[in-house]
Symmetry: none
Subunit: 242 residues, 2 copies
């Protein structure tokens, strides 16, 4: 793992520092409230100025990954599986950033005829098949979320992509599709037999249900996503200011 900063690189030092800090945060050594080295020391280790280091730290503090305390130090924030209202990070990235190890329990790829909802959102006919991606993900102890995604046929996805890579990265680099707008609807539901089975809970147990519509720069629909979150394993957070 690269643990130093390349001064000859065109990548800005504070960006390199930020990425490096993210890796540190993921490291079990620093997880769960562990303190980072102090700013002066750390800046010397990385061979950058304290100001530049603080630029990187600030970003992670804004995101809630780090907590600073005057006179004390800077520590990795306590992990609560929560989602800051859509930071446009992938699921894995967000979980990794919080030091939560993610396991993919199931991955199922298929081409299916869309139902009315999906066809309507994509503005296509119900006989034009779309790529369906089902995923069961969670902690090593057990799954806590079941995702179902549908992708617009025009994107060009074949189903042979490496879905272990972040989805938005695949879309951006391979297909030049940039997810720009997201509309979400969140509600509570009782788990039906299928979902209960997947999440290993009792039928009828409450789950957080998230429906998500994703659009590209031109507001063209690209993804329709359904997520079923096991109760208490996932908290959705929204912060707003007027």
């Amino acid at each position: 793992m690269k643990l130093s900063i390349d001064h000859s690189s065109p990548v800005p030092l504070h960006i390199q520092a930020e990425e490096l800090l993210r890796k540190m945060i993921e490291d079990p050594e620093f997880r769960n409230g562990k303190f980072l080295p102090n700013e002066v020391e750390l800046s010397q280790q990385l061979e950058i100025s304290r100001t530049t280091l603080r630029q990187a730290l600030n970003k992670l503090v804004y995101e809630g990954l780090l907590v600073r305390k005057k006179g004390i130090g800077t520590k990795v924030s306590e992990k609560t599986v929560s989602s800051k209202s859509m930071n446009w990070k992938s699921f894995s990235q967000e979980m990794a950033a919080r030091g939560i190890p993610i396991r993919n329990f199931e991955l199922h790829i298929s081409w299916v005829k869309p139902n009315e909802d999906v066809a309507h959102f994509f503005e296509i006919k119900t006989d034009q098949k779309v790529l369906k991606l089902e995923r069961l993900r969670g902690r090593p102890e057990g799954p806590f979320v079941y995702f179902v995604s549908f992708f617009h046929p025009n994107i060009g996805l074949t189903g042979d992509e490496d879905f272990k890579r972040p989805l938005y990265e695949i879309l951006e680099t391979e297909y030049n599709v940039i997810a720009t707008l997201s509309k979400e609807e969140i509600s509570a539901r009782a788990a039906d037999g299928f979902i209960a089975g997947k999440l290993e809970i009792d039928t009828g147990s409450p789950v957080l249900f998230r429906k998500r519509f994703v659009y590209d720069q031109a507001d063209k629909p690209i993804e329709f996503n359904l997520g079923y979150y096991k109760s208490d394993s996932f908290i959705y957070t929204v912060e707003s200011r007027r």
Copy 2:
């Protein structure tokens, strides 16, 4: 309106600058894609260094209120921060906007000793009583939400206010308290006996649970709110753009 920075104030300059910028952004003159003065000019106007001004700008850029473009300038973001305007309507206003007629089934006002959570949020001791407001609201056919609110004792609320008026209006006009920041946590829960009774559903049925922390301009806590929404009667929507 204060439009200058007080160097003798104990409030940090970059915080003062941030608040000032927020006011500028609200101003119709700057809204919707208008450019701010450039950094050097603005820092001279405010009589602070460019570095300090950038500290304030960074925060607003991170929040998505401002957009910077190298070589061009900094403008007010054009996106209609929908979650913003949406969330700051009162419950009745929001329902009215959706064309849903609202009936108030129960209203209960009391002064109670706060529990640990509430006392901690308000930064008071558990023996200082706070105003508690319980409300059961919904459609004429039946209730679909049960709210519990606690208010900080320093606001000055007596409990004799007319709670049929929008709450934020009462706070603003009568007590000069302006709710500015709201943090929400949304999760799914199983209804306990009490909630199930209120919402007229079976114990164990899923409900959407919303915890809400409300702060004033100075980030002082003013309200702690819990909401239990009957499943499928309420959908929480979030729209975000990058």
